[in-house]
Symmetry: none
Subunit: 248 residues, 2 copies
DNA sequence: CATGAAATTGCACGTATTTGCGTAATATTT
DNA sequence: AAATATTACGCAAATACGTGCAATTTCATG
């Protein structure tokens, strides 16, 4: 393994776990701890991480996009990991934005080869960091509140693709109102995304289950998989399962 | 094996494995390591890969790595400030990407009301932070080396707009060869941008003046304004001014 | 076709970088 | 305060690098 490659790996681990131990890295990469230590010193000298006794810490920034305290980051990482498991080599994946999806983008395994479509600027940025992923950006007017593109041209483009999987971050879901949101333009885009995808998985922290907002995106039956940080056997999911939703 | 052929093979290996070792390539292709090393240097000079001790890494490693240290940031801030002065309320502005443009995006005065078109992910992100600027993203395939969208759909979209001003970060300019670059796809996009804009300003640090690369974007006469960190009265600009270029 | 200029390649040689190990010093934990 | 873990430092071996040079090939041009 090349030195730079190793340092890139270390940075990735740091951004993923927020901290690393020299001893762990030494075992994982199979080099001496001295080498790891020297890497950490070098990376800390260029302010890529903070070196501490025994390992190193993240500077809680990743790239130019701050990860200034993301709400319930741990939960979102759990969700992201489950979402990653749905993606197979060669797939065409359409994704929305949102902090959960961005965490997922960071966790994609390096060997994965797939094509991602998105209208989210931060998500596209993360996908573009990945060596083997092809990124197609769906352009149009950028909605400032959500950092995704919205509008007729975007919706038209979405309808022209046939993704295997759609990963959608959502704001509210309940049995009665279905999946709901509060931004009219975003709702239009998300509807288009669900309609064109062969399969749709919705991602949300459990807190948002059984809540609703003013605008309906679609009924619960129109999506296929529900991903939360909870175990699939929790009682909250019973009614959703009865309506054919797969929960993971 | 011809040199070109060999370099194409190296690039293929890089895209496949994300990294190559000089020693491996030397054995595979049956040439000396010196030759491989010279190839890698050449390829890295045209930004096709990242040369490191022992071999080379895919370009997509670079961005997540070297991002924090912007080369000649002070100069680029000066250039950005001059570029900002060209933008008036109500304008439609089309911009490329690059670190200089991103600095400019950060320096836009809060009162400014304008519409920005771009295919650059980091630039769009910065524009979207601004309270009064409308951002239209030009979608298509994301080129990893340059973090901008490239391809037919992007070029078509560009041709459908009529911006008042185009701000273009460039890599090389000289009187004889005009404005040049080294990435075929990016060249196509930049040509389209220049053609559709009522007025084009090119931004570059003075270091790149009187240098050239392999692919021509356009002749010096086809753009209107040259922005560098130097004073407009410097001698280097004389020949450019004689050809009708405004220097600021 | 000839011929000189330019590009390409391999080799030699001195230099620089990288890595692991031993040992002593320092920090952290119990 | 003792025990343990982590670090700093120097050293040596292996590997990679840059440079100059000569042999060879390629190319443009007369």
């Amino acid at each position: 393994m090349l030195k730079r490659e190793r340092q890139a790996y270390i940075l990735k681990q740091i951004n993923l776990h927020n901290r690393v131990l020299s001893s762990d890295l030494s075992l994982e990469i199979n080099v001496s701890e001295d080498t790891i230590r020297r890497d950490l010193i070098e990376l800390s000298e260029s302010d890529k991480l903070i070196k501490v006794h025994g390992g190193a810490l993240s500077r809680s920034f990743h790239s130019s996009f701050l990860r200034s305290d993301v709400y319930q980051l741990d939960h979102k990482k759990k969700i992201a990991a489950k979402a990653v498991s749905l993606i197979k080599d060669g797939m065409f994946v359409l994704t929305s934005g949102g902090t959960t999806l961005i965490e997922m983008a960071r966790m994609l395994p390096v060997e994965l080869r797939a094509t991602f479509f998105t209208g989210s600027i931060p998500a596209a940025y993360e996908y573009a960091q990945h060596p083997n992923i092809e990124v197609i950006f769906i352009g149009d007017k950028v909605s400032k509140s959500s950092q995704i593109t919205v509008g007729g041209a975007a919706i038209q483009k979405i309808h022209s693709i046939k993704p295997d999987l759609c990963l959608l971050g959502i704001n509210a879901i309940d049995m009665e109102n279905g999946i709901t949101d509060n931004d009219w333009e975003v709702v239009q885009v998300k509807q288009a995304m669900i309609q064109c995808a062969a399969q749709t998985a919705v991602l949300t922290i459990s807190e948002k289950i059984n809540s609703f907002q003013r605008l309906k995106i679609c009924a619960v039956e129109e999506v296929d998989i529900l991903i939360t940080e909870l175990d699939e056997n929790e009682g909250v999911f019973d009614t959703f399962k009865q309506h054919g939703l797969k929960v993971i």
